[in-house]
Amino acid sequence: MEITGDIATIGYGLATIGPGIGMGILVGKTQEAVARQPELAGPLRINMFIGMALVEALGLIGLAAGFVF
C-alpha cells in the first residue's frame, strides 16, 4: 500500500501537541489561581498572556516551518 501526500502536515500535526498541552496547563493553572484569589484576577491574566505569547510561538514556528521547508 502506498501513502502519498505531504509529510509537513503530519509534522505540523505532531508539533501542535506540545504547545496545546502547554496552553492547557497555563490557562488551567490561571483558572485555579483566580479561583483561590479572585482579587488578583487582573495581574494573573496579564501573566497568562505573557506565557501564552511564548508558548504559542512554538506552535506558530511549527506552522511557518511547514510552509518554508
Partner: protein, 271 residues
C-alpha cells in the same frame, strides 16, 4: 457567500467538475486595477478600504460634537475607548503610562477588529487581515511602539541592557541567555504577532468557505437524497462557525492589543 460559491460551482459544473473546496488561491483574487504594479487593487484591498472607511466613520461620528454630558454616538465612542483604556492599558501599564499609550492601543484594537470582522460580513466575506500584509503592518506598529517606549523610558543603552541581560542571573548563563532573549524579544515577538493573526483569520475563512461550498454541493450537485440531507448538517455547521468566527475575530484583536500592552510594560518597567 452562497451566490459566489454557487457561481463558482456552476462554472466548475460546466467543466464537469465535482466538489471544489477552498484553496489558498481564494486569498489572491484577480486584480481589478493597476495590475502588475505595486498598487495592484483587488477585492481584498477593496474590503480593507471599506473596513477603514467604516472605522473612520464610527469614530468621526462619536467625536464630532464632544460635550461634557455625552449624547448617544459619543457614549458609544467612549464605551469603545474605555474598553481599551480600562481593560487593557490601565491593567497592564498602570494609570499614567496607560493613559499615554491608550491612543496606540485603541488604533491597534479597533483596526484589527474592523479588519477581522469583515470575514463574516455578508457581501465582503474575507477578512482584511487574512493576507500577510495587514498583520505585518500592525505587528510592525506594535514593534516600533514597544521599542520606542523602552528607549524613551530607560534610554537606549539601559533599555538593551534590561532586555538582553535580565538581572539576578549568574554571569556565565548570559552566554546562552542573551542570544535567546535577543531572538525572543526582537525577532520572535513581531513574527508571532503577525503569524497568530494571519493563521487565525486564514483558517477561519477556509473553514467557512468549506462549510458553505459543501452545503452548496450537497444540496444542488450531489446525486442521492442522503447526501442532500447531509447538506443540512453542513449548513448548520456554517452558522455555528460563523458565530465562532465572530468570537475569534474579537478575541484575536483583544489578544493582539493585550500582547502589545504587555510588551510595552516589559520594555518600560525598570528594575
Amino acid at each position: 457567500m452562497l451566490t459566489s460559491s454557487t457561481s463558482a460551482v456552476v462554472l466548475a459544473a460546466e467543466e464537469g467538475g465535482g466538489f471544489h473546496g477552498p484553496t489558498l488561491a481564494d486569498f489572491f483574487p484577480p486584480a481589478v486595477l493597476f495590475e502588475g504594479t505595486i498598487f495592484e487593487f483587488n477585492r481584498i484591498a477593496l474590503v480593507r478600504l471599506i473596513a477603514t472607511a467604516m472605522l473612520v466613520l464610527f469614530f468621526w461620528l462619536a467625536a464630532r460634537r464632544v460635550r461634557l454630558v455625552p449624547g448617544r454616538a459619543q457614549s458609544m465612542g467612549e464605551l469603545a475607548v474605555d474598553f481599551v483604556r480600562k481593560g487593557i492599558a490601565e491593567e497592564s501599564l498602570g494609570r499614567e503610562i496607560g493613559r499615554r499609550y491608550t491612543p496606540v492601543l485603541v488604533v491597534i484594537f479597533f483596526g484589527v477588529l474592523f479588519m477581522n470582522i469583515t470575514g463574516i460580513i455578508p457581501f465582503l466575506n474575507i477578512a482584511g487581515s487574512s493576507v500577510i500584509g495587514l498583520p505585518l503592518v500592525f505587528a510592525l506598529l506594535s514593534y516600533v511602539t514597544f521599542i520606542v517606549a523602552g528607549v524613551r523610558a530607560q534610554g537606549g543603552g539601559h533599555f538593551l541592557k534590561s532586555q538582553l541581560f535580565p538581572p539576578g542571573v549568574p554571569w556565565p548563563i548570559y552566554l546562552i541567555l542573551t542570544p535567546i532573549e535577543f531572538l525572543s524579544t526582537f525577532i520572535i515577538r513581531p513574527a508571532t504577532l503577525t503569524v497568530r493573526l494571519l493563521a487565525n483569520m486564514l483558517a477561519g475563512h477556509l473553514l467557512l468557505v468549506l462549510c458553505f461550498a459543501a452545503t452548496n454541493y450537497l444540496f444542488f450537485e450531489a446525486s442521492s437524497l442522503g447526501l442532500n440531507l447531509a447538506g443540512i448538517g453542513t449548513l448548520a455547521a456554517g452558522f455555528a462557525f460563523t458565530l465562532f468566527e465572530i468570537f475569534v475575530a474579537v478575541l484575536q484583536a483583544y489578544v493582539f492589543t493585550v500582547l502589545t500592552a504587555v510588551y510595552i510594560q516589559l520594555s518600560v518597567e525598570s528594575h
